[in-house]
Amino acid sequence: MAKPAVKTTDITFSYEGSEKLAVDKARLELEEGSYVALLGANGSGKSTLAKLIDVLEVQDDGTIEVFGIDTKDEDRFWDIRRNTACVFQNPDNQIVGTTVEEDVAFGPENIGVPNPELRERVDKALRYVGLYDRRESSAAKLSGGQKQKLAIAGVLAMAPKLLLLDEATAMLDPVSRDEFLLLIEKLVREKGITVLTITHDMTEASRTDKVYVMDKGMIALEGEPRDILNDVPRMLEAGLDSPIYSKLIWELKNVTGKSYKHEDCTSIISALRYMSDNFFGVKIKAPKREEISKETLVNIKNLSYRYEDNGRFALKDIDLQIHKGELLAIVGRSGCGKTTLVTHLNGIIRPQGDGDVEFRYGDEVLSTTRKKDIKKIRQKVGLVFQYPEYQLFEETVYKDIAYGPKMMGITGDELDKAVREAAKKVGLADEVLDQSPFELSGGQQRRVAMAGVIAMEPEVLVLDEPAAGLDPKGRRSMFETISKLKEKGTTIVLVTHYMDEAYEHADRICTMKDGMIMGVKTPVEMFENKEEVRDMEIRSPYLRRYLEIVAIKLGLDSVSKKNLLMAQSVREAALLIGGKDA
């Protein structure tokens, strides 16, 4: 057995001025050269534990040894720091240098690496992550994915033995996330660096050697990923998620009334074996689908948008109808124009040239090309941007939610009613209303920000990555909220990177690439043609890809296979396979 890189006794820690234990008798051991994931819901103490390892905080009780050095040993504390590097969640808040190479050099400069070794280290690190050609670029101009690679280059230049990743992939799109993970895996393999990654991404966790799950400051579970992640009920309880294959079996057992043992499906292979043992050759009925209206509410006509400075098209010839009461998902790679498109919907950006965005309002047709219509449109089309919690400003939650409707001219009892109803719709308790929004947790703050838009009673609600940065439980409850809003008749436009969520919740999906619309179809139709999907630079939902394998393993006839592939959620797939009405 290899030497431990980090070894602790039971660690306890609470932040100053807080009685709650942030870390409550947690114990962990990382083997040198291993790749370990630390999972847990928001606020479970994961980040704090990482900070204790890098001596950014010091524990109240217990000892931590990093490469055999006690973190409380003040004489050797710099030895730990030098050998331990961190990458944090927000790329913008960890870049110190203005140019790429200045930033990479920051760490080694601090520990006094002399030239020419310094120059060598910087160049080598930049080549390793593939940013050497951009070494003199302004760091602020890099994309999110590149900024995180820059952070990794900064780490490499320090030549550390231990790397702590604190939700380093949370703000990246799926493509950048994959690239980042491959880079990390390469580091573990080629450089023998020990990596501890804190993440909400279960796919990321499934690729590690060992998993720790934290719950309320304690280590709730530890073991190999296949044993931990496939324990569906336990993972749900900890606010986390499991792979598709084990979730499907769990749902199937719920449907058929059998009890779930995660030993049945510790891998895709054993999961598929269970499926074919129990459900080979079943006949699958088509799921029922409700008709959705085709009544156009928002009509986008001939919309193009060019940047003033470089003349590049952000949007090109967009024609799109948003139907009343539907949930329309807009998907596509970062920079494909999704956000620019939705920013047109309420006239924050006005159409250029002969483009138009029309909104049907009773018998009237409002247009964002007409200045006098803008105010009405802003009320009818609510826009919730990414990370909306960063726009809160009032003293109390109540006042913040009331700001929008007040600006729209609503007063008195009507205003009070609007605020309270909006708070209820997003699941905020009454007592929260009098608190300062800045005292709430991130997830709560996001709900306040959403309520601030919903209080204007918009007919169309545009949500740009509403679940970004939330833990799996937070994501689930966010989508429950969205479904409820939709049930009450709000039309929803959802911008997202998460194909499985779009697949499960959308009535139609609109795919964009390079500022153009590649197709608007129902989720099931969108992914039918594999070549088309590849051309659109999106990827099929995990669920659909898995169900295709399941269909083969179960030896389904063509009708049954077609019906099974109509399932848009794990639950629905389980109901279809289990022979119950979906």
Partner: protein
Amino acid sequence: MLKDISIGRYYQGDSVLHSLDPRFKTILFIAYMVAIFMLESPIAIGLLVVFMIILQILGKIPPKVMWNTAKPMIPILLMIFILNTLTIHDGEELFKWKKILITTGGLRSACLMSMRLLMMILITSIILTLTTTPLKLSEALEKLLGPLKVIRFPVHEMAMMMSIALRFIPTLVDETDKIMKAQVSRGANYDTGSFISRIKGYVTVLIPLFVSSFRRADELATAMDARCYNGGEGRTKLNPLHITGKDVVMFIVLLIGAASLVAVEKVLPLISL
């Protein structure tokens, strides 16, 4: 909305101006600033403008970028112009209507003051922010102010603070843009309405901006800690400053330029007498 503003942004390039020693650039900048405020004759100011244009060309900075730098200052420039025109009453009377009096002296001073301010902004951008990265600039300051360490002035800390402030300007400009869009979606109005209501409108931007700046500061401090930052002691530099031939040439050019300015301002009027 705010994205076009160039103040404080670094303009990536490989020009002579970019590669000059930042210490030299800082001295050049101070000399130029002094000149702006010492000189009054139109010819001297004209020479300063020519010199500025030469620097701009040396720095390969496109006019568009210069325009973006100057654009946000136009309201202030106009205000200074109008205030000067209306309040200074030297020289001959040009125009009088009720209490409004415009004189040649007033116009002269209005032109001079707004010109000075405009040049100040442009030269700061050309010599410093657009062509020098904040880290280099802070390094130059640290070196130039080095002697002050003797009296325990925290030179390194000041320089570091300045470079971080500059580094975060573009990030915060982007953030302001995002927040404004979000508040406009909620019915905020920054362009119309009374003065008071507009000020109130800006509160909806400033508070979130402050809150996020504090959060950023906190996270950045942790990140710097994690990267072993421990003050200026024992730090090395990736690109240490050293004086090159280019710096010497530029220094000589500068000396000649300065001499000619003095000549224009002081000697020329004497000759014409």
